[in-house]
């Protein structure tokens, strides 16, 4: 199906299904019991999808999610009781109660207003909670959301007791627009909207920053992803969806009881996300729908068995976690599932083997013999470190490090283990903040900027212990790194405008071009962690190049490579320098590589620069020999 028609079908379905379902319900084709289940399924899908964005895709634990639901419910409830009730006075009550199309539309309009208020309340609250805690890695969001849930519950309870002398907030019956005529339409419209938003986001190049952050936060920052911003985006969208669901629940039941939005409700929301497969949208939708239906079935049990309901529920939860930790769907999405089903039941064809690489590795890269003349000393330096010093507690890891890197130079940084080489890289790329000294890129200081910002300014790096996004494909690894150079952002990705498709195509093309250079194009769909070691090293360089840097820092690129791969790597380094007009700073232990490819070498020992010069000078420098081999015996 061509794309415009496919999109049209999706939109028509998303609009048409809720209206059709509602129509069938209102003419009596769907019974009240089924209506209730349909409404609950839609609500739980909305909650699960929002949470799946936070937990499954961005990898952040929000375990007080029900609080955002209660905020949405409460603020929209106050809004409808005051504002909407005031507006409704201008209408004839009999007209508002009627089932005519225009009356339904007016009621829907009121509901949309309430939803907007609820979404706003939840979104603001999520920014307040997320902004301080999402900067940190680890369980802090979990702890903060847990505490936040209790705060919201306590404050709402105190408010209600003081103002209404009750433990719940009751909406006036005039504002009960949900329970009649639009309950299924509104809940399913919200659920489908949630699915569309999250799906469009996570399947776009900018949205793939989220699984990248989940896989490796440091590597994400190193390719220019502003990690806090993206984590916050996921958290706010997920929380806003919970707020919207809260609005619907409040207007369906007419009651807002803060006690029903406590920790156990939050857990109820997390369950389908984990059961369906954390990181699978399809899985969490299926699990949310299926689980809601099953729980409704369990309600039909005789009353003596009711007390065992939660026990069965909790046992199933623990057992599934132990027996199938990846959840029912793992990370499969609908297309993967359909593909598997088709192969399994219809065609029974053998699975297509992924194309193996046939061409010998060196064929694509032209071997450029000899060095291109390095930039002369009269040029302004591309990268300059002045008296760069860093102390960890009492230990000075690097002291007064000076470096001037001229355009299109390849400079080696060598020294024994623990000399401080990687620490220099970490300061230059913003992972550590230097205790003293300055780093300048084409004259502008970089000190104080974060890793993502520094990458945007034009420095890219690879890591000593490869840090690929190991769960993502080879192509995605490179595509994510292009993310700062996309013309369109998250809003376009969600709305899927024509500009988005043009941008995606361009990203795909440039990523493939890079993979071609590194001879990885045939492996584009392979998961990164399945690649052999040498390919992973080269993929990491390709990913760094995708950020279009001026300066490339390679941390032991030849580590773990065999002699043939090392020779190939040397050609590759010269080749990319020439093709991309790069300046390269290289840490390496393999002296053949260092001497063969570098035009200038700096030697570090115990954090101090002990020598600097051309390869042949370094080779014969007695201080260097001493640092590596110890003092000569006399």
């Amino acid at each position: 199906m061509p794309r415009p028609i496919r999109n049209l079908v999706v939109v028509l379905g998303a609009v048409g299904f809720p209206i059709l379902a509602q129509y069938l319900a209102n003419v009596g084709a769907v019974g009240a019991y089924t209506q209730d289940i349909l409404y609950k399924i839609a609500l739980n899908i909305t909650l699960a999808v929002g949470l799946s964005l936070i937990i499954g895709f961005a990898g952040q634990f929000s375990i007080g999610h029900a609080a955002f639901m209660s905020l949405g419910a409460f603020f929209s409830g106050v809004f409808t009781s005051h504002v909407v009730l005031g507006l409704a006075k201008h209408f004839d009550p009999a007209y508002l109660e009627s089932d005519g199309l225009s009356a339904v539309l007016v009621r829907s309009g009121f509901l949309v207003g309430a939803v907007m208020v609820g979404v706003l309340a939840a979104a603001i609250a999520s920014i307040l909670v997320g902004l301080p805690t999402l900067r940190l890695r680890g369980d802090y969001l979990a702890i903060a959301t847990l505490g936040f849930g209790e705060i919201v519950f306590n404050l709402l309870l105190i408010y209600l007791q003081k103002n209404n002398a009750d433990v719940a907030y009751y909406l006036p019956s005039e504002t009960n627009f949900m329970s009649r005529t639009v309950n299924i339409a509104s809940s399913w419209a919200l659920a489908l909207l949630a699915i569309l938003i999250v799906r469009n986001l996570v399947s776009s190049t900018s949205g793939r920053a989220l699984p990248a952050i989940r896989d490796d936060e440091i590597a994400s920052a190193a390719v220019g992803i502003h990690t806090t911003r993206y984590k916050l985006l996921a958290f706010v969208i997920g929380s806003a969806l919970a707020g919207a669901a809260g609005v619907l629940e409040a207007h369906q039941t007419g009651t807002i009881n803060p006690a029903s939005y406590r920790f156990d409700r939050s857990i109820e929301m997390i369950v389908p996300v984990v059961l369906g497969g954390s990181g699978s949208l399809t899985g969490c939708v299926l699990a949310a729908g299926g689980f809601t239906y099953l729980l409704e079935l369990l309600r039909g049990l005789p009353s003596g068995a009711q007390q065992y309901r939660t026990i069965v529920y909790a046992s199933v939860l623990v057992l599934i976690m132990i027996l199938r930790p990846q959840g029912l769907m793992g990370r499969w999405e609908l297309p993967d599932l359909l593909h598997w089903l088709r192969n399994r039941f219809w065609r029974r064809e053998r699975e297509k083997k992924s194309p193996m690489r046939t061409a010998p590795a060196a064929a694509v890269v032209p071997a450029i013999a000899g060095g291109v003349v390095a930039g002369s000393g009269t040029d302004a330096p591309e990268l300059e470190c002045r008296d760069l010093t860093i102390r960890f507690g009492g230990l000075t890891a690097v002291s007064a490090f000076n470096l001037r890197l001229f355009p299109r130079e390849i400079v080696g940084l060598i020294g024994p283990n623990g000399a401080g080489k990687t620490t220099v890289f970490n300061m230059v790329t913003g992972v550590y903040r230097p205790s003293a000294g300055d780093i300048r890129l084409t004259g502008a200081s970089l000190v104080g900027a974060g890793p993502a910002r520094i990458n945007e300014r034009g420095i890219a790096r690879t890591f000593q212990n490869i840090r690929l996004f190991s769960d993502l494909s080879v192509l995605d690894n490179v595509r994510i790194a292009l993310h700062a150079h996309l013309k369109t952002g998250v809003p376009t990705a969600i709305l899927r405008t024509p500009a988005f498709y043009a941008d995606e195509q361009e990203a795909h093309a440039s990523a493939m071009e890079l993979l071609q250079i590194f001879d990885l194009a045939l492996l584009a769909d392979e998961v990164a962690c399945n690649l052999p070691y040498g390919d992973q090293r080269r993929l990491e360089i390709a990913r760094a190049l995708a950020t279009r840097p001026r300066v490339l820092c390679l941390d032991e690129p030849a580590a773990g490579m065999n002699p043939a791969e090392k020779r190939e790597l040397m050609n590759l380094i010269r080749h990319i320098r020439d093709q991309f007009q790069l300046t390269i700073l290289l840490i390496e232990h393999d002296m053949k590589v260092v001497m063969g490819v570098c035009e200038r070498i700096l030697v570090l020992d115990h954090g101090e620069t002990i020598a600097e010069g051309r390869p042949e000078e370094i080779r014969n420098n007695p201080k260097v020999i001493e640092a590596y081999l110890g003092e000569p015996t006399k």
Binding site: G147, V271, V274
Partner: protein, 312 residues
């Protein structure tokens, strides 16, 4: 309020706060110990504490307590109850670790978190069954003591309160001794630092992890019995609120840091009783969590903890 009245109020609230804080500290140590070795928020820990109180209640009935509020039990019976509760919780803690958490050691952290929550729900709901304990609170035996009240100014403080405070301090010291001066303690500290390094140094990480749960559960059982004595009742959901507060205490002090857990416990207990005794008493629960978020903002690693930078 006159200065004298104020001082009296202050002393009274401080003693109550220290008692409450000590109980929080005992539970918080369990959270912190387990977090240290497994990086797991053990949500079931609050329920282990509840089981401690419930088992002590059962033990008292077996030992002839008539379940009426007027029937006081002798100090020997109270000690026996404490002992039996510790045994039961140690066994429970061991079983939970062995069969629910150990199979998930290598799985994503979210899985262990969900499993912990599942175990917590399971315990709470099993004990709510009428055949097991029932959903409503039951009375907890009061101990017959030579002194029953202590007068401070014009106000009576129950002697039990001082007993609990003394017991808490004693068991905290025992825990401190175990962690700092025994081989097991050394193993726990090594395992908290790094599983593989500890293994290379000959530490049996699985055994140490089990022992960590055993120690944490024993402390929770003690806390359960103390709270039962103090409140004169126990119920299957008593672990929810205390568990959450104690966990907050562990985070405030710096999760994984044992001195921090104790400090956090006392801070939470004192601030709770001071606020409860003032005109803002409605806000005492909200305050605990506001304090938590404020401390996370200023010192993300907690008061005594630190956030280690990741090695690149």
């Amino acid at each position: 309020m006159s200065a004298g009245q104020w001082l009296e109020w202050f002393i009274r609230q401080t003693i109550s706060g220290l008692t409450l804080g000590g109980v929080y500290a005992l539970i918080a140590l369990g959270y912190s110990l387990v977090y240290g070795v497994l990086r797991l928020i053990n949500f079931a820990h609050g329920d282990v504490y509840m089981v401690g109180a419930v088992v002590a209640f059962w033990a008292a009935r077996r030992l002839g307590w008539s379940q009426s509020a007027n029937d006081l039990v002798s100090p020997q019976v109270t000690l026996a109850m404490l002992f039996i509760a510790i045994l039961a919780c140690v066994l429970l803690g061991y079983v939970i670790e062995r069969f629910a958490y150990r199979p998930l050691r290598k799985a994503p952290r979210l899985n262990s978190l969900i499993t912990a929550i599942g175990v917590s729900f399971l315990l709470e709901n099993i004990f709510q069954l009428q055949a097991v304990f029932g959903a409503s609170p039951r009375g907890f035996p009061e101990t017959r003591l030579p002194i029953s009240v202590v007068k401070i100014g014009g106000y009576d403080l129950r002697f039990e309160q001082f007993l609990i405070l003394g017991g808490t301090v004693f068991f905290l010291m025992v825990c401190r001794y175990v962690i700092l001066h025994t081989r097991v303690g050394l193993g726990i500290r090594a395992t908290s630092f790094h599983h593989d390094y500890a293994r290379l140094m000959g530490v049996n990480v699985n055994r140490i992890t089990s022992l960590t749960f055993v120690i944490g559960s024993a402390l929770a059982a003690i806390a359960g019995v103390f709270v039962g004595m103090y409140q004169h009742q126990c119920d299957p959901l008593m672990g929810v609120n205390y568990g959450l507060k104690a966990f907050t205490a562990a985070v405030v002090g710096g999760i994984g840091n044992l001195a921090g857990a104790v400090l956090g416990g006392f801070i939470m207990g004192l601030s709770e009783t001071y606020i409860a005794g003032s005109r803002f008493s409605d806000y005492r629960d909200a305050f605990a969590f506001v304090l938590l978020i404020l401390i996370l903002l200023v010192r993300p690693g907690g008061l005594l903890g630190s956030v280690a930078p990741e090695k690149v």
